[in-house]
Point group: D2
Amino acid sequence: MNYSKTFQEIYNELQRVEDIGQVANYIPELAHVNPNQFGVHLITVNGEYFAFGDADVKFSIQSIAKVFSFVLAYSRVKSNIWERMDLEPAGTPFNSLVQLEYDKGIPRNPFINAGAIVVCDILVDELASPRENVLSFIRSLTKSSTIDYNPLVAHSEKKSGFRNYALVNLMKAFGNIKNDIEKVMDLYFSICSLEMNCKELSESFLFLANNGIVPHTGEKILSPSRTKRTNALMQTCGFYDEAGQFTFKVGLPGKSGVGGGIVAVHPEKYAIAVWSPRLNKKGNSYKGMLFLEEFTTKTKLSIF
Amino acid sequence: MNYSKTFQEIYNELQRVEDIGQVANYIPELAHVNPNQFGVHLITVNGEYFAFGDADVKFSIQSIAKVFSFVLAYSRVKSNIWERMDLEPAGTPFNSLVQLEYDKGIPRNPFINAGAIVVCDILVDELASPRENVLSFIRSLTKSSTIDYNPLVAHSEKKSGFRNYALVNLMKAFGNIKNDIEKVMDLYFSICSLEMNCKELSESFLFLANNGIVPHTGEKILSPSRTKRTNALMQTCGFYDEAGQFTFKVGLPGKSGVGGGIVAVHPEKYAIAVWSPRLNKKGNSYKGMLFLEEFTTKTKLSIF
Amino acid sequence: MNYSKTFQEIYNELQRVEDIGQVANYIPELAHVNPNQFGVHLITVNGEYFAFGDADVKFSIQSIAKVFSFVLAYSRVKSNIWERMDLEPAGTPFNSLVQLEYDKGIPRNPFINAGAIVVCDILVDELASPRENVLSFIRSLTKSSTIDYNPLVAHSEKKSGFRNYALVNLMKAFGNIKNDIEKVMDLYFSICSLEMNCKELSESFLFLANNGIVPHTGEKILSPSRTKRTNALMQTCGFYDEAGQFTFKVGLPGKSGVGGGIVAVHPEKYAIAVWSPRLNKKGNSYKGMLFLEEFTTKTKLSIF
Amino acid sequence: MNYSKTFQEIYNELQRVEDIGQVANYIPELAHVNPNQFGVHLITVNGEYFAFGDADVKFSIQSIAKVFSFVLAYSRVKSNIWERMDLEPAGTPFNSLVQLEYDKGIPRNPFINAGAIVVCDILVDELASPRENVLSFIRSLTKSSTIDYNPLVAHSEKKSGFRNYALVNLMKAFGNIKNDIEKVMDLYFSICSLEMNCKELSESFLFLANNGIVPHTGEKILSPSRTKRTNALMQTCGFYDEAGQFTFKVGLPGKSGVGGGIVAVHPEKYAIAVWSPRLNKKGNSYKGMLFLEEFTTKTKLSIF
């Protein structure tokens, strides 16, 4: 099937919808992005791909990177990571601290900030050079060697990341952070600063549509069972307080970031990345959500 | 494929697992059930079916019935039901009241108690004889005319349902209950008291695996799009505080009840109901969860 | 000392302050009161008294009555009432339900609604004719036989009291309400509907300034120690979420009601009641608070 | 009146009560104190004083010091400090973070940790050498020049103070901390590390019983009105989650610390300090509370 035409159609329809979203502005690096850029890239498990618009423009993938760090921990760590975090949806952001307090420092899942910080704590224990190892891992999932951190973004995130410091300190008070806080947070903010384009993003998530195997290298990242579980986790926890909404309207497992990127996976079929910088009130790309909703409706390719 | 053999195998394996669950005991009618009963029934969209154990024994389906009342409201009501409830997972039970307070009386989704009570309020407005109409609707989904409410169960639930009365009163204080509280709660407790067996349960959910159409009658209950959305909703919200766990381990949309029943749907393929009365700490059937996890692992039939 | 002149002075000053408060309007009986009425009455332990303005006009004393029901339970009940409620300030109203949930149905103190409902549950157990006995008790504290319930107010409160029903049902779910909910709530809403004027109110609180003895009859209501403790409790818990504010600015133990009344006690000296129907955002009389602040400042008669 | 005899009597009675409290053990410096020490010191506004037991032994005054930093800010700062903190009791410790979240970074009062940290932030802005200035201020309230910080205690508090860092970061996220976090926390932990004995403590609080004037120097620290207000604040907020309990049983404004010290003030009469290291579950000295309850009962010297 040729998706290029579908992309163009949906894009044209979306041109008629006013973009009521707002670009993330809590750090200058995100605030200054051109908000009218729009890119899509889909790649199938058979190697076909379909690009549209600004599919080659790099952007800050932000929380999407939490999937990479989680998969790395999930694939490498022998101890039971689920003793240190749960795998349930998280409820409203308002509850983030009270939930952590109520659950004695155990985050609800690895894709909320608190959980991703615990994942970083695990990686600091597990990896020789965490920052470098995470980057190599991500590059190995794609054909691109230009994927990299943006130190300016990491620095800005760190300078304004007081709420994340509140989370890590509360978890440390409960004994759920083992390493030095600064070491953990440096890794965390680095990972959030990763820059990729839609092409690289869809490539890097393709193993999740392919039973855990990177198609172009044949490397096995996760077992089929753990692959399914990672997808299931994205389905219930991948969109902040809008996981239900995304599941309901798009019907695919996926992950979003405040840089305006969304990546979604159709098991056995494809991975798709879309990028549109303006965010809805829940912090997900406004037009990206609409695009994917329309795409799975038109192609009837929801998993449900 | 012949699932009967698979059912027997998994059952044999589970015999070796100690059942650490507890039968629900907050009302005598649930407490007095024989806890060692175990039934499974699977029915495919092509009309094949596979029964095992106590598949013909009726039990109290409890919260599973919330799917029926939701579907009825979703299919009949022209107004936007999503103004009166959200469709996001609900977090811990501890939060049920505070979440409702924080969200000004809007429940997180139609499958938690608060949401199901709002659905009943909608049905009281919408239907001529709500109690009878809901029952006819459910019977019409199956080939069984013996499905019925259990008035003793409804009465016991009502007598001990103080927490549900706290919820409905709080929502009424916020203006999100339109009708007389007793009228709404009578319907709510009746629906929770429904008794069905695994055979009837799997039949009655089969339209959700069949694009919204009841296979044996051809009746269209929901559009394909709304069918997918209902499945998506079960996926993220169908298991109290264990929706993530069930999605992660079983990988199918489904719904459980404190009577020990679980029903799950594989879109385009089948509906399956399992019943084992002992519950884990989250209120879901302990062996039922294990059975379905093992079933989707063995058959590799997760949606992810 | 002649307080009449002081009353007039403060009243004149307050005339120059815009009354930004709002009359309680959740039931018609409160909404329709003339908001410009203003009354004060002070009575000393030696029997001197000073009236000002509408000191003889009856109004709905609302939550002030919670002191009477508490004192009655505290003086009559042999069992330890503190096993069923705490005596700590309550924090924000937002927390009322979550606090009750967290503390497993034990209210923070007897002066918040949940606590006053538990007090009513105790009185239903303890008294032969609770509604009549409470009324006789209050009349016995004053020289007035016209003090009475207002059944219209009680009825309106009950009809709109969904939040109070949420509280009582939650406590019943935790086992902290022993009697039939309607019986308890009928007493609760009756007590809230009491009508008194400033003269009667100051008289009825005078025993709290007089070591527990009603001056004009010599009757001992509470021991000196329990009298001090009741005053202490009013100090920390008498003003909803503004107990700190009132303690800070007025410096006397007291109790307010949404009818616009406030009564305060200076141990060993006097009781004073003030009434002005417009309420600040926390539900306390706007000008009543200002009047008492000015009064204790001018007379230097704070307990601190 | 000679209080020495009363002290001895109460002490003898308390010898018969098992001390079920526990010494604070979250830092070694507190854990290693001899738990059987017991001291009392009372000083009247007329200069009489009465010592008992270990009244001259220095101990870690911990949170008692929050009164000194608050008074210093209250007396020096021209801006409205109440825009940055409230003056209401705080509810349960469980709520500390959620309350701060709900109130957008505004602490409930200056005597909980969050509030005391905001006070430190104010002092960092206001004072040339905050650490030294606070110390000089405290010394000026007493006749003692040996009062000092304990750097080991400050260091240990800082190393284990993750929960306090969670609080300060959350407030910084809301914009309610103006200065560098480390600078603020260094001052905060220094102040908590202050060591004084009962004699010095009672002397240093005597101005609060004397309309704001230090008796032995005549220096005016606060106006009479602000003195009363500070006492009122201690009354409602001085004992963590036990302010109501202390008010109810002791009936004097006061402040406690996890070092086992309690200081209380009887306006116009005296200040009293008691020290007994074992703490009840709420973090207040177990025998110290009992001693003061017995003392105000025997002497009938409650303010209520």
